[in-house]
Subunit: 201 residues, 2 copies
DNA sequence: GCCCATTTGTCGGATATCCACAATAGCCCT
DNA sequence: AGGGCTATTGTGGATATCCGACAAATGGGC
């Protein structure tokens, strides 16, 4: 099983070393990068962990990298580190979904706490995404007709009504309905509703 | 129908006047207060609108008022205004759920846009809360036994199994089930599941 | 005593579930 | 072209479940 890493992206070697030492001494695995580009080269969506991101860097800035990650719909929690941040920058980053925005020099213990929080969040998100992907996969296995029937079942309609709506026999509806239940791994319409309600959004 | 107001809380009369003029000229209703205490005296939970809150005030500070509103679980969106804010303060406010954190001097158009966003959010929250309260009310009307039966129904169990679990007759379960459906205003178990899935959390 | 919650019962119709058997159409692969 | 597979649709019948109306007994609280 892959351990969740803290990804450190900072062009200042002294900072990288200090952060690496800090987290490794607390038993948290670390990977360091000296630029946003270097991180992007290794990063694969789906990896979970926590990104510690310096804002001011030569080349791609931390904010640019953040936007890029949002584009690929990464759910990686991001904590910004900055030496010369201002209020509008912090507000903008947080409103865009950053987990935190910390000024250097930072308090070691607080930072570690935030990172551990973020790692927990990331693991939780990953789990949730795995569930969602699982559901999505099962939904994709449904045929178009089965999907239609399922939607009507979830609308609380009776098989007879569904048959009318689709212009087919009740018996056919029953077959589709049974297939939907089988493919989705449930035994009743209520279970199906519960399953989808938790993961549709 | 009550119009959504912008509530301005600032101890600087010049700011209050400027903001009042700004919003009234854009057709947004305004109520001004010269202190957090004055606002709290008039404020009733459930009112929707948007709070424009100065941080530095004599007496109760804006942050104190914000915390107080959170305690009474107010869903009023809050936009902080500040002349001398720093990054940690902004970060803290946003992480606690403030909608925005704006430094003076502010851009009129941007502020108005944010406020209009906030008013929309507030209206949406209010609607959602009304729905939730409605559901909560119906749930409260259920007897203990009906609630038990409902939970088992939502677990996808058959009446026969529910009867076994509760040590009562199937017929009795049917009666409770019918009462639950009637009180919750639904006709099928699936509708019940849909209803609760959207408002339970 | 009255109201309500809880429990139980019967009867019958409407619905849903399950199974066996069967047919048509479209697809991929050989 | 032929064979296999899936999706789709159909029939008939047996069984289980759900639902509504009518009825009634018990116990608690006002």
């Amino acid at each position: 099983m892959s351990v969740d890493h803290v990804f450190i992206v900072d062009d200042d070697e002294a900072i990288r070393d200090a952060l690496s030492w800090l987290f490794q001494s607390r038993g948290v695995a670390v990977k360091s990068y000296d630029s946003a580009e270097a991180f992007l080269k290794e990063w694969r969506p789906g990896q979970s962990g926590c990104l510690l991101l310096d804002i001011r860097m030569s080349g791609m800035s931390g904010l640019d990298l953040f936007d890029r990650l949002r584009d690929v719909s990464s759910s990686l929690p991001v904590i910004f580190l900055t030496g010369h941040g201002d209020v509008p920058m912090a507000v903008s980053a947080l409103k865009k979904g950053a987990m935190d925005f910390v000024e250097k020099p930072f308090n070691d213990n607080e930072l570690v706490d935030r990172v551990i929080e973020a790692l927990a969040l990331s693991a939780q998100r990953r789990e949730r995404e795995a569930d969602t992907a699982d559901i999505a996969g099962r939904l994709a296995a449904l045929t178009a007709r089965e999907r239609q029937v399922m939607d009507l079942v979830l609308a609380g309609k009776l098989n007879k009504v569904i048959a009318d709506d689709l212009g087919i026999t009740m018996r056919t509806v029953e077959v589709h309905r049974a297939h939907v239940f089988e493919k989705m791994g449930v035994k009743t319409a209520v279970e199906l509703a519960q399953l989808l309600s938790n993961y549709r959004l």
